[in-house]
Amino acid sequence: MNNEVAAKAAAKPLTTPVPQVSIPEIFWTFLLIGATSFGGGVVAYLRSSLVTKHAWIDDKEFVELLSISQTLPGLNATNMAILIGDRLRGIAGSIAAILGICLPGAILMYIVGMVYREHGDRVLAVAALKGVAAAAVGLVLATTVQLGRRSLAHVYDLLFVVLTVIGVNRLHQSVPRVLIVVGAIAILWYHPRKQEKGT
């Protein structure tokens, strides 16, 4: 315990000081990202705005927060908003950040939903939506492949990927059941002792 406190005190001057950012500034910056990040990949937009343009956090911390976001349930974009907002101004900062990043898309989809309900069965809309849905499948597959390239390291990883897909799509098990069963096997597979041997 004492060691930990000492370690923390020693580490403190090394970490970059958190710049004083106001709540409206946080809200506005995340609102802008929420309104302009067309085509997905919000994380890239976050990085260029918060790390490069504003220098609110450094790249190393950004990457660390991203790894927390990816492990936890929740979308990367909103988890990042919470984590960065908290670093900048505590809970109020988190709320400002997640509201800002969600509002533009939420309002847009609210309107889109109403328009689709009224006009979605028109001949032109039906045809266009067939093309849109097919392209969206390509997009989500591409996102998954890119994420996989970065996060999969071993052949065993592929086995866990395949087990998960079979569990959901072939055996028709519910997502939480597959998540818990395959997740537990994978976590035990990479249990701490194995880690030490590996490195």
Partner: protein
Amino acid sequence: MNQIPALVRVFAYLSLLTVGGGMAAFPELKVLTVQVHQWLTFPQLVHLYSVGQMAPGPNMMMIVAIGEWAAGLPGAVVVLLAFFGPTALLSLIVGRAWKRLEKWPWRTSIQRGLAPVSIGLLLAGCLTMAKAAIFGWITAVIALATLLILLRARVNPAFLILAGAVIGVLAFVH
């Protein structure tokens, strides 16, 4: 009938399944919103999800439309709170504890173990959606072309989805 309690339950539950991304919850989203509660049909869900890929911001904002269909403006607000509230709280708590967890050896094990499972869940979501969206060679070519272009070039995906819409109109309007 008041749908608000059901909306809260469904979307709070779904939010905890989005490990790796929103797509991970898609198979369960389909079962609950289409089969159990019948707020919309499966083609409608696929359409909303696909159109939602063009919207800026976090890519699951189509859930707002489901909330609005089921219970109007209050439904939309409730869905947002239910879907982002639980994971936001979890991020806040774990984010603050993360540094202290550094010495905990299982932290790395959990990260390493969940990475392939989350990829698997995303793929399973893609396959569930593909079953509804891919029929015949034209849609297969659109999906494959989008995938290959995105893996090889830096193009804004929103343009490719728009291109899909144009091809859809050209191919399917008789």
